[in-house]
Symmetry: C2
Subunit: 101 residues, 2 copies
């Protein structure tokens, strides 16, 4: 079961979980309240996010707080670099057009 961040963010529920954890760390129960599916379904999503290190956990008694690992998101950011170069090139081409006006 090879997990990577790209597979993790493919699911909209998991992206929503990451967005919620960006605000503050939460327990699985607290997270599950934001969705229509069962706690166990949400827990599965959390597990997938944990497997690819997109979230970390700290235990406090019987409660487990899940934290966003924002650094993992940088992997996606780095992957975008290839395409960012193209945006910039396109922008340069637009400059070429504009300077002749």
């Amino acid at each position: 079961m090879r997990r990577d961040i790209f597979q993790a963010i493919a699911d909209p529920t998991r992206r929503a979980i990451l967005a919620l954890l960006a605000i503050h760390a939460m327990t699985p129960n607290a997270l599950a309240e934001h969705f229509n599916s069962t706690r166990q379904a949400v827990s599965k999503h959390i597990q997938i996010l944990a497997e690819c290190e997109a979230v970390t956990q700290t235990q406090n008694g019987r409660e487990i707080y899940y934290h966003l690992n924002a650094n993992k998101m940088k992997e996606v950011d780095q992957w975008l670099d290839t395409f960012r170069k193209i945006w910039e090139d396109r922008f340069d081409q637009l400059d070429d057009v504009l300077k002749d006006l």
Copy 2:
């Protein structure tokens, strides 16, 4: 069959196709030569990329050239904004630590 860019980039073969098309437009046959799977498998990936508008096509006789739509990648870039703010905050915190040294 709702397709979005996040589902499209979840597969490593599709990410490789996007990287190849970032260099220059290619036909399905030319793309397929870069992979171990069949042309039809690669064609299916192309179709998924086309459905979410990550690639566009131009026909030239019986050949179809697929082009990267780099603008679509910006959607991922925009999604990252939420987390980029956190990187910056962390960076600010690091600054706070460093200024006391």
